[in-house]
């Protein structure tokens, strides 16, 4: 599986994601600066967490206009897997690869802690290595993770089985406890929790590892 990680000014989880991908695939991903207009030939594009452009205007809104993003959208159309984590999820909603938006947390606080999630497989390679309906523990670290979409969109997401990750105990006010969603083709995943911070047993639980294992199996 060949992968790359997009790097924006203000990304701060790009190395965590690169380390996780290197650990699982055995090969370091290519790091792609946001000013690039073409992408290397890869099977997976990682859009990392952080605070791209200082979260100015809206989280992810300025990064969504970066020169590299049309290439990401084009690759996504071709079926290249795209994984957006935290700020990466915000960027993917801003460019319209995923519906909805991530708003300020309901209690207005930045939340950094491990939380419980329920995983739904729903035929996606991102979740294929998890047991269906299994409960996992991943870290969250965000100020703007409150998922919002109109009722029609939420009904569609649920009806089509596109909600891959749900909070067990909703920490941020997200509609219908949504923590992560996939596109109808199940080739794009955006989630607020950080699977890339939960892959190395030396650093604690490894519930993020199956996400990368599933991709590895599907794309190798």
């Amino acid at each position: 599986m060949k992968s790359c990680v997009i790097v924006f000014p203000g990304s701060n989880c790009d190395r965590d994601l690169a380390t996780a991908l290197a650990l699982v695939t055995g090969t370091a991903p290519m790091m792609v600066w946001h000013r690039e207009t073409a992408l290397p030939d890869v099977d997976l594009i990682g859009v990392p967490g952080g605070f791209s452009y200082g979260d100015y205007l809206r989280c992810g809104a300025v990064a969504a206009q970066s020169p590299v993003m049309p290439a990401v959208a084009e690759a996504a159309k071709r079926g290249v897997r795209v994984l957006g984590i935290c700020n990466g999820f915000q960027v993917l909603t801003e460019i319209g690869l995923l519906p909805g938006i991530l708003m300020r947390n309901q209690e207005l606080c930045f939340i950094g802690k491990a939380i419980e999630l329920k995983v739904k497989k729903e035929g996606s390679s991102f979740t294929s290595s998890y047991e269906d309906d299994t409960q996992i523990r991943l870290p969250i670290a965000h100020h703007d993770g409150n998922y919002f979409a109109d009722d029609e969109t939420l009904d569609r997401l649920e009806g089509e089985g596109l909600v891959a990750f749900r909070y067990v105990d909703n920490p941020n006010g997200s509609q219908r406890n949504i923590a992560g969603i996939v596109n109808p083709e199940r080739t794009v995943l955006g989630l607020m929790p950080h699977p890339e911070r939960a892959v190395d047993p030396a650093l604690g639980p490894t519930d993020g590892r199956p996400l990368f294992d599933g991709l590895m199996q599907a794309l190798s």
């Binding site: 801003e94 909805g100 300020r104 409150n146 006010g173």
Partner: protein
């Protein structure tokens, strides 16, 4: 020309920041304050002297970047 764009949350979208501002105002003794909604004001200098053309371009700017239609609406003013 000077243009002003007001970006506000659509009705029905919860505004936790507006709520916090309202609570703080109540704490300061401004009991008459009801619901508070927070938005953004963006001021732009625009080249040219055709306000209608500028408005059309500003509308495009709002749709492409300045506002997110999922939760926000916008209003444009151009002072020539």
């Amino acid at each position: 020309m000077k243009a002003t764009v007001h970006v506000t949350l659509k009705d029905g979208v919860l505004d936790p920041q507006g709520k916090a501002i309202g609570n703080a105002l109540h704490g300061l003794g401004f009991g008459e304050v009801g619901e508070v909604r927070q938005g953004k004001l963006i001021e732009l200098e625009i080249d040219g002297n055709d306000p209608e053309a500028a408005k059309a371009r500003l509308d495009e700017m709002c749709r492409k970047l300045l506002a997110n239609p999922v939760i926000e609406r916008y209003a444009i003013e151009v002072a020539s």
